[in-house]
């Protein structure tokens, strides 16, 4: 329905109009903060000026460029750890959903892993996997395991009985029921788990870096903090936010593409694409 939608230019204008008050508020807040520090209402050692933080950001990203190495190391640790943890979690969840016996004997261990604060394992993981990136990935994998496992399993075991009957009456075999019915039904929940897992994986990587590391955003941050260079420390913290947002929106994008049927606009786009491919097959 392209005609019922407002034009592109109009939408842009609308977004700008909505965006401006937010921007004004942000600038006012920053000015107030700056003024409070400048007049000495807030001690600048504890809470630095926004301009100092801005300066630190420029220094870290532009003039010195020290952050990039650490940024990508932490990003790699979090992503690799997440992939390992997610692979184990999803495969265990799939096995548990296929076999009741397997599920019965795996779940107690998963629950034990869940009630243990995974962060408590940090020193042990570092002793096992060394001071390098391996230990950070391992902690990230451990921390992200449970939310993904539980969500995937919950998604796979919830069965719509009417749907199952329909599949059976159409003569679907077990493989087809699993891949065409249970997996698609589980995907939304699984993605919710993956999103949580991604955040916890980042936490795992950063915490392991606090404990012991030579490179990474976490190390950079604790170094700056202990030098009482709060502006640079906050700038580093903001780069963690950037990593977090980057990971989150990547996941959101994948969610949008893979679980396309949950959003109206994506569903319409997918059905258009299918219609086109069918038409080309028919030869019209």
């Amino acid at each position: 329905m392209p005609d019922s939608r407002p034009s592109r230019g109009y939408r842009f204008l609308d977004a700008m109009v909505r965006f401006v008050p937010h921007l004004v508020l942000l600038i006012v807040l920053l000015c107030l903060w700056e003024a409070a520090v400048a007049t000495g209402m807030i001690t600048s050692i504890m809470i630095p000026r926004p301009s100092a933080i801005g300066g630190a950001i420029v220094e870290l990203y532009v003039t010195k460029g020290t952050i990039y190495k650490h940024f990508f190391i932490t990003l790699t640790e979090a992503v690799v750890g997440f992939c390992i943890g997610a692979a184990i979690a999803v495969s265990l969840a799939v096995c548990s959903s296929l076999s009741d016996v397997f599920k019965r004997y795996v779940i107690p261990y998963a629950v034990v892993l869940n009630v243990t604060p995974g962060i408590a394992l940090t020193p042990v993981v570092i002793a096992w996997f060394g001071y390098g990136m391996g230990s950070k990935m391992a902690l990230a994998a451990i921390l992200c395991f449970f939310p993904i496992f539980v969500n995937t399993l919950t998604g796979l075991v919830q069965i719509d009985e009417d749907r199952e009957e329909l599949f059976k009456s159409l003569g679907a075999n077990n493989t087809q029921i699993f891949t065409k019915m249970r997996v698609p039904a589980a995907l939304p929940l699984m993605f919710a788990g993956l999103k949580i897992g991604l955040t916890t994986a980042l936490i795992g990587a950063v915490v392991a870096e606090f404990a012991q590391a030579t490179d990474g955003v976490g190390v950079l941050m604790s170094r700056f903090s202990f030098q009482l260079n709060m502006a640079a420390s906050i700038a580093t913290l903001l780069s963690m936010t950037v990593i977090g947002l980057l990971l989150f929106y990547t996941m959101e994008f994948l969610d949008d593409r893979i679980v396309f049927w949950r959003r109206e606009s994506r569903r319409a786009a997918a059905s258009r694409a299918r219609a086109r491919s069918w038409q080309s097959q028919i030869g019209k």
Binding site: V115, T116, P117, A120, P123, W128, T199, L202, S225, L245
Partner: protein, 286 residues
């Protein structure tokens, strides 16, 4: 948790019979013992380096050492738990109060949203070194870290709970002439209680993690620093004893929160509903 996840669609709703359950429990115990014994034997045969992968027997021995012979774990455990408690209470009260204030005010909500998104993406535990630098070593910065870590889940959940008010109920309340305060106290907050409690549960787990991270960085006292010191000295058995202590503690916290949930959000549970209505009947009679 395991129970709930076990009852698949194939089984009767009443669950497996008692003898079957006993037999399964035996199998669980058997598998567990086999794993432990295999671990012990692998370690004794030299396949697993006991320096890094402690034997189960050594871990048991360490349990005895740190709890009874030396008894040094109690003090650290006490320190950690009191910090967790204070930080949790402070952070979650702050979260609930701010969450309901923000949830009730559309304008504030609109302008706060971008900041909430940014905060949500930041690993909040990462603020720990900053807070320690700003507030100094000691209990204050630890409590501040725990409060920060605890704040978010109750805040977000209260916010969404307060916002999802049932429109029909709201209309009923309004048509009966309820004041704003009455609507908040009798409708909005009670309806939000289950989701707030879910947030509290997340917050409590986060609180324990926050305390551990703070202790890892400060390395003075508390169970986190104990684990760190034991691992540094490659006394892995004691380190594992501490970690399993945290497992038990985590389990108790889980159960405790469930009980609190049953008490506060009693209308979600059959038993709680009956208990409260019996109490009300008694009160009415007298």
């Amino acid at each position: 948790m395991a129970e709930a996840a076990q009852s698949g669609p194939t089984k009767a709703s009443a669950g497996p019979s008692r003898s079957l359950r006993n037999r399964r429990l035996m199998t669980h115990a058997g598998i567990f013992l086999t794993l432990i014994i295999a671990w012990e034997l692998a370690s004794r045969a030299g396949w697993l380096d006991p320096l890094f992968y402690p034997r189960p027997s050594n871990i048991l021995n360490s349990f005895w050492l740190i709890y009874f012979k030396n008894g040094n774990v109690w003090e650290h455990l006490g320190v950690t738990m009191s910090l967790v408690f204070m930080g949790f209470v402070g952070g979650s009260i702050l979260g609930i109060v701010l969450g309901s204030l923000v949830g009730l005010n559309g304008l504030v909500r609109r302008f706060l949203k971008p900041y909430v998104i940014v905060l949500e993406a930041t690993p909040r535990i990462a603020v720990a070194p900053l807070l320690i630098a700003a507030l100094g070593f000691g209990a204050t910065s630890k409590i501040a870290i725990i409060m920060l870590v605890c704040f978010f889940a109750p805040f977000i959940n209260t916010l969404s709970g307060v916002m999802n008010v049932n429109a029909e109920k709201l209309e009923l309340f309004r048509s009966l002439g309820a004041s704003k305060w009455q609507i908040l106290r009798k409708l909005v907050l009670p309806d939000a209680v289950p989701i707030i409690m879910a947030g509290e549960r997340l917050a409590l787990t986060a609180a324990l993690s926050g305390a551990l991270v703070a202790e890892f960085i400060q390395r003075d006292q508390g169970i986190g620093s104990l684990i760190l010191v034991y691992t540094r000295n490659l006394n892995m058995a004691s380190s594992f004893a501490c970690i399993f202590t945290l497992t038990i503690l985590g389990f108790l916290i889980f159960r405790g929160m469930e009980l609190v949930d049953q008490y506060i959000a009693f209308w979600k549970y059959e038993a709680g509903r009956e208990r409260v209505s019996a109490k009300r009947r008694r009160a009415m009679r007298s």
